[in-house]
């Protein structure tokens, strides 16, 4: 294995582990807001290209496949994340909701339309929500994901009681939305709880 391969694997592992997946969403209907400055095409080195559309802007457009028929159309965004791997272009779609908790804006992400190239593996994989703080300007989006190692330390030191399960790749939060919101509100302003923001630039 050459150095470049090791570095690439390391980067992917870092990205994959840089989040705290949750069985339940961060939002309730009453928390949802919109800010259409987020609509557009955005570039970020490690995170590829993001294309964001407001779902209820063009409800009859072919842009929305049938897999989106179940998605809540009000206050909902559609995110397409385009990445490259080994010369292949990979696209996956997510439903995104914007919400406000304690005066802070967050995004909640959930995969909608995806395929894995190994059928038996796909049966073992369960979709989860992810969430980040978000700050939007005309030309950029700043995303602050919670640091999973910070949560692990809190749990290991018995400083927090949030429902969760550990798996090979980290922690899955199993707390219901209200319990999850309490955690996010409590630690959302802790500097160490949030990873260095990923900044996406408008293309």
């Amino acid at each position: 294995m050459n150095t470049r391969t090791i570095i690439l694997i390391g980067m992917l592992a870092l990205l994959a582990s840089s989040c705290i997946p949750s069985l339940f969403p961060l939002y309730t209907e009453e928390d949802l807001v919109t800010d259409d400055r987020i609509v557009g095409t955005w570039a970020s080195g490690e995170m590829g290209t993001w294309v964001i559309e407001r779902l209820d802007y063009r409800p009859t457009s072919d842009f929305f496949s049938s897999d989106w028929s179940d998605a809540e159309k009000k206050n909902t965004y559609k995110l397409i994340v385009i990445e490259t791997d080994g010369g292949d272009t990979l696209e996956t779609e997510f439903v995104v909701h914007m919400l406000v908790l304690d005066g802070q804006h967050y995004l909640n992400y959930y995969p909608v339309d995806y395929e894995l190239d190994h059928d038996f593996l796909s049966w073992h994989m369960v979709e989860a929500n992810n969430f980040s703080k978000v700050k939007i300007t005309e030309d950029s989006i700043s995303l602050g994901f919670f640091d999973p190692s910070y949560l692990e330390d809190l749990i290991d030191e018995n400083r927090i009681k949030i429902s969760h399960i550990r798996h090979d790749n980290g922690i899955l939060i199993t707390a219901r939305t209200k319990e999850l919101q309490k955690f996010v509100i409590k630690y959302g302003d802790e500097e160490d709880a949030i990873l260095e923001p990923d900044v996406l630039k408008r293309i």
Binding site: E83, F94, L121, H124, M125, V126, I165
Partner: protein, 213 residues
């Protein structure tokens, strides 16, 4: 919303699986068994194979996420689908009078990084029969579970995902649930029979097919 029953077809021979994922394993350490008949190579479709072998920490050095499977009661299942290979920890256990297999992915690879952040691994399991020539798998039927839940006939812990249910019950609750319905003919989809291959009969070289130890 009625949850859609999803049938996934694995391979061209038509191994149809409609399985129920679980956050927790079906087994406790004391439930585990070893049966050498489980080991072998199984052809599951055109250019699709399962290879099962026992992990024996006394005779090999385990690496990566396999380190935690050092009890001597773990089998390594390598599933090749065309040119894609994935590995699963496989555990054989007995509940009541029946054998079961618990499957869990290890060292898996999801190429899309942001998608990888949104997928977590879960256990699936099947009732199993082992003969000298075959491994017969009875996967649990998602439609059966859906009907039980809608009829309010069970109280097992679960959450509703977009297209299926995820069991969130811990192992003890899970085992009670499974054994209660183990002999109900509606519990399982049609059995999948995997024939063990005769390695002296011209099967392609294993190291070429699996590119693994």
């Amino acid at each position: 919303m009625k949850i859609r029953t999803i049938l996934f077809i694995l391979g061209l021979t038509g191994i149809v699986v409609s399985c129920i994922p679980s956050l927790y394993p079906l087994y406790r350490a004391k439930d585990l068994l070893i049966d050498n008949k489980l080991e072998g190579l199984y052809e599951t479709g055109e250019n699709e194979y399962w290879k099962i072998r026992r992990l024996d920490p006394d005779f090999e050095k385990l690496s990566g996420d396999w380190n935690q499977y050092n009890s001597g009661y773990t089998y390594k299942l390598s599933v090749r689908e065309d040119d894609k290979l994935e590995e699963f920890a496989l555990h054989l256990l007995e509940l009541g009078d029946d054998l079961y297999l618990d499957f869990f992915p290890v060292n898996y690879d999801i190429r899309h990084g942001f998608l990888d952040m949104h997928l977590v691994p879960a256990h699936i399991f099947a009732k199993a029969e082992l003969t000298e020539q075959a491994l017969i798998l009875h996967f649990f039927d998602m439609e059966w579970l859906e009907e039980l839940i809608e009829a309010n006939r069970i109280k097992i812990s679960y959450v509703e995902l977009k297209e299926r249910y995820l069991l969130t019950a811990k192992t003890e609750e899970l085992q009670k649930f499974i054994t209660k319905f183990a002999n109900d003919s509606t519990t399982f989809i049609e059995a999948d029979t995997l024939m063990r291959q005769d390695l002296s009969a011209g099967i392609k070289d294993l190291s070429l097919m699996f590119n693994i130890n």
